[in-house]
């Protein structure tokens, strides 16, 4: 929310007050600052940046709370990674090059789901095509999405603006969506990591047709089997104390309001990827009501 300019008694110049607005709100603040304006950026949530948050919780691991693949952040100096092999679905892979060339991949719907696009949506194909056209701008932030936010805030503060985070209540109502949403399971473990060829390894389907079928079953409430991707967190892993640690984020699909046992769902995800539950140090499942991300 942009609230307009207000007097700044210290500097005798007006300041643009921006309240929240997620990552876009922060970028808006930086744009204003780069044009020479002064900004008072106020974030009601715990951290600025919306879904662009990296979190460790009380664990030795870093996770992105939102998606891993993000549009290239507006900081040229920020180191980003561009994984070439994006998807592995039952041994069939989808590369960045294939998406860039627009070649008719059988896995485009799966790639769309990874980006939060429901293949059953009327404009799903068009939106997936648009994402494929912009594939060069979809990157991983080395160090985590939160690094982009932190560097933008540093730029703002260094230029004389103010940024205050966490001013609101922790009282967050559950997201009451309908249809399908994104769940995220944050996994931190030791020992051998599951073998992964691509950034995201699928479970619960083997091609576009079985993906659509699995999503329909979820939508109808007929199943709560894990459907989604184990997304590599390797670009956030490196532990100088214990080199056997690794982490991943399972990005899955569940209906909003699904009646699932968290423990049971987590166990099924671990089992699907052959991860030894006894080796897992940290596990935390956010359901669609927690992520607030609807498949659209």
């Amino acid at each position: 929310m942009v609230r307009g300019r207000r007097a700044d008694p210290d500097r005798r110049v007006s300041a643009l007050e921006i309240v929240g607005g997620g990552f876009a709100g922060l970028v808006r603040a930086v744009d204003e600052s780069r044009r020479g304006g002064r900004v008072e950026y106020v974030e009601p949530g715990l951290r600025a940046g919306g879904a662009m948050v990296s979190e460790t919780f009380l664990s030795p691991f870093r996770f992105n709370l939102g998606p891993s693949l993000v549009a290239r952040p507006p900081l040229p100096s920020l180191h980003v990674l561009e994984p070439q092999l994006l998807l592995d679905v039952a041994g069939t892979t989808l590369s960045r090059a294939a998406l860039r060339s627009g070649g008719g991949s059988a896995l485009r719907a799966a790639f769309g789901v990874l980006l939060g696009i429901d293949p059953a949506a009327p404009d799903a194909e068009a939106r997936t095509a648009a994402a494929c056209a912009e594939i060069d701008d979809l990157v991983l932030v080395a160090g985590g999405n939160g690094l982009a936010v932190a560097c933008l805030i540093d730029e703002l503060v260094g230029a004389g603006s103010t940024v205050v985070e966490g001013v609101g209540s922790a009282d967050t109502a559950p997201h009451r969506g309908t249809g399908l949403g994104t769940c995220r399971l944050f996994i931190g473990s030791r020992g051998p990591a599951p073998e992964r060829k691509a950034l995201a390894t699928a479970v619960g389907f083997s091609d576009d047709a079985s993906l659509r079928s699995a999503l329909d079953a979820l939508r109808a409430g007929a199943a709560t089997d894990p459907v989604g991707f184990l997304v590599s967190n390797a670009h956030l892993d490196a532990n100088s104390v214990d080199e056997t640690l690794w982490s991943a984020v399972f990005q899955g699909v569940l209906p909003f309001g699904a009646t699932v046992s968290r423990d049971d769902y987590v166990d099924r995800v671990l089992s699907a990827f052959g991860i030894d539950p006894a080796a897992v140090i940290f596990r935390l499942l956010w359901l669609p009501e927690d992520t607030g991300e609807a498949l659209q």
Binding site: L58, A150, V157, G158, T162, V164, A170, P174, A279, W286
Partner: protein, 525 residues
């Protein structure tokens, strides 16, 4: 730019971050190197699940620090406030005492156990209040070793306790408590915080009595919550004054040339690409003894390379409950609750065993933090932290005993609330090994920079000015790394003195001045 006046290695809350903010504000060009995305990671907040907010470290003694005023932290978003109820102690039989912001209510709580002890405690606070600032200045906010400041701290402590200096220097914490309080309950309630060995060993003559008294000053000044805003305010001060915060970057080597420390070699987290940050005047290491020694290589010295940090550490349990834990009504209102021993004899025995490798000591001094009193969230998601111990790092096989500890922890909570298992939505245990994995500077899971049982009292800690010219330390020093920002304050002091930039008009606030101005506290009783 790769050339600075000062390069600070490690942006921890207690040492590196405040030191960098002070030095940058004083006019030095400072680079602050941090391995994580955020500075002060051990002091940030996190939403484990939406609506259930936790702090990494649920203590806040920063109201004691001159930095609140010197660095104008409130103007940069710091939201510290004193709650009406600060903490409580509860024993297995249900006996309890609650500390309130209002000294009269605290007095009434203790009078339930002993009128004489309640009067004694109020009198102690009464004598501590007017001396608190100077005591803190001498004992804490002075770069030790400093014999004159230590002597004055002892003299002030003797005045507060109304005993001869010589007697104080012969006394253990246990002897002091037995002399001060007649009630078994009050002795136990007043041991829970110092039992953490935040300063020193309660069973050590001299050290033990001083440790207890100085912990009392902390207890009087606790103002939990607002932790993350402290980190962010310090970051903002540093950056707003032109500091360079080098995030997501790992220190590979501390450079020493011709006997002088001249900079550090760093690389982005997860990368082998290196960069050298040159320091014209000083390098300040907040990396902890072990990492500093590794980065220095052959330039380390015996006290640094042989430093111990493996004796008194913590295990922690985070729970998200569907309702608050069932506790006695007045205790339930406290953000922090200490679960104390059943008797004074058991308490003393626990202190004795805590010098050993006995893992059972984890279950003898337990602290609950009820975050829903600090960060009201969803009524069906109650954030509860349980801290177990201190205890030993032992053999380090913490992954092997995680399940056993988890079961014992749950059983301990069921003693308080038999139905608690049915309302657990989420549970996670963080072991000492996990703490160490989380922060390589927290060697063996020790986040405060060293051992006390092993004999690291005030004169035996690492020096702020190291034997290597232009290399300074802010970890493993005296005092230990707590949220009072003292290690960073003192480190900034010595570096600023050596650079000739210490004399600043804004760098003049007294310790505890924020508390003195904020509201009446128990110290003003």
């Amino acid at each position: 730019m790769k050339e600075f006046d000062v390069v600070v290695l490690g942006a921890g809350l207690s040492g590196g971050l405040p030191a960098a903010a002070y030095l940058q504000k004083a006019g030095a060009r400072v680079a602050l190197v941090e391995q994580g995305v955020d500075a002060g990671r051990f002091y940030l907040s996190y939403d484990l699940l939406p609506g259930a907010r936790f702090d990494h470290s649920p203590v806040n003694f920063s109201g004691l620090s001159p930095a609140v005023g010197d660095l104008d932290l409130m103007a940069h978003g710091y939201a510290l406030r004193i709650p009406e109820v600060t903490l409580a102690a509860l024993d297995p039989g249900g006996a309890s005492a609650v500390f309130y912001r209002d000294p009269a209510r605290t007095h009434a709580q203790f009078a339930r156990h002993s009128q004489a002890d309640a009067d004694q405690l109020a009198a102690l606070f009464g004598r501590l209040g007017p001396r608190a600032s100077r005591l803190l200045q001498c004992a804490i906010y002075t770069p030790h070793p400093n014999q004159a400041a230590y002597d004055e701290a002892v003299d002030l402590s003797a005045e507060i306790l109304e005993m001869p200096r010589a007697a104080l220097l012969r006394m253990t914490g246990v002897e002091l408590l037995e002399g001060l309080f007649e009630s078994d309950e009050v002795r136990r309630f007043m041991t829970a915080l110092p039992a953490l060995n935040l300063f020193g060993d309660l069973l050590e003559p001299g050290q033990g009595a001083l440790t207890w008294l100085w912990s009392l000053a902390l207890r009087a000044a606790v103002a939990p919550g607002a932790n993350q805003s402290l980190v962010k305010a310090l970051e903002r001060v540093f950056v707003a004054h032109g500091g360079t915060l080098v995030r997501n970057t790992v220190v590979q080597e501390i450079l020493v040339e011709a006997g002088h420390c001249v900079g550090a070699v760093v690389s982005p987290f997860g990368s082998s690409k290196t960069t050298t940050l040159w320091a014209n005047a000083a390098v300040l290491s907040n990396l902890g003894a072990a990492q500093t020694a590794t980065a220095l290589g052959p330039h380390g010295w015996p006290q640094l390379t042989e430093w111990r940090s493996d004796n008194r550490v913590l295990t922690v349990q985070d729970l998200v409950l569907q309702r608050p834990l069932k506790l006695p009504a007045d205790v339930a209102e406290a953000p922090r609750v200490y679960l104390v021993w059943e008797s004074w004899d058991e308490c003393v025995e626990w202190l004795r065993r805590s010098r050993t490798d006995d893992l059972d000591t984890y279950f003898g001094d337990i602290e609950l933090t009820q975050f829903h009193h600090l960060y009201p969230g969803r009524s069906d998601r109650i954030a509860l932290r349980v801290r177990y111990g201190t205890g030993p790092f032992a053999d380090g096989d913490w992954d092997g005993r995680r399940a056993d500890f988890n079961a014992r922890m749950r059983a301990r909570l069921e003693q308080l609330d038999p139905d608690v298992t049915s309302v657990v939505e989420y549970e996670h245990v963080c072991t000492p090994l996990d703490f160490w994995r989380s922060n390589p500077a927290a060697t063996h899971g020790n986040p405060i920079g060293g051992d006390f049982v092993g004999g690291q009292w005030i004169g035996d800690r690492l020096p702020y000015r190291s034997p290597v010219d232009r290399l300074y330390l802010s970890n493993g020093v005296w005092p230990p790394a707590l949220s009072w920002l003292a290690a960073g304050y003192n480190a900034a002091t010595v570096v600023a003195e050596d650079l000739g930039i210490r004399d600043q008009p804004w760098w003049r606030h007294e310790p505890a001045s924020w508390f003195a101005g904020a509201a009446p506290t128990p110290t003003a009783a």
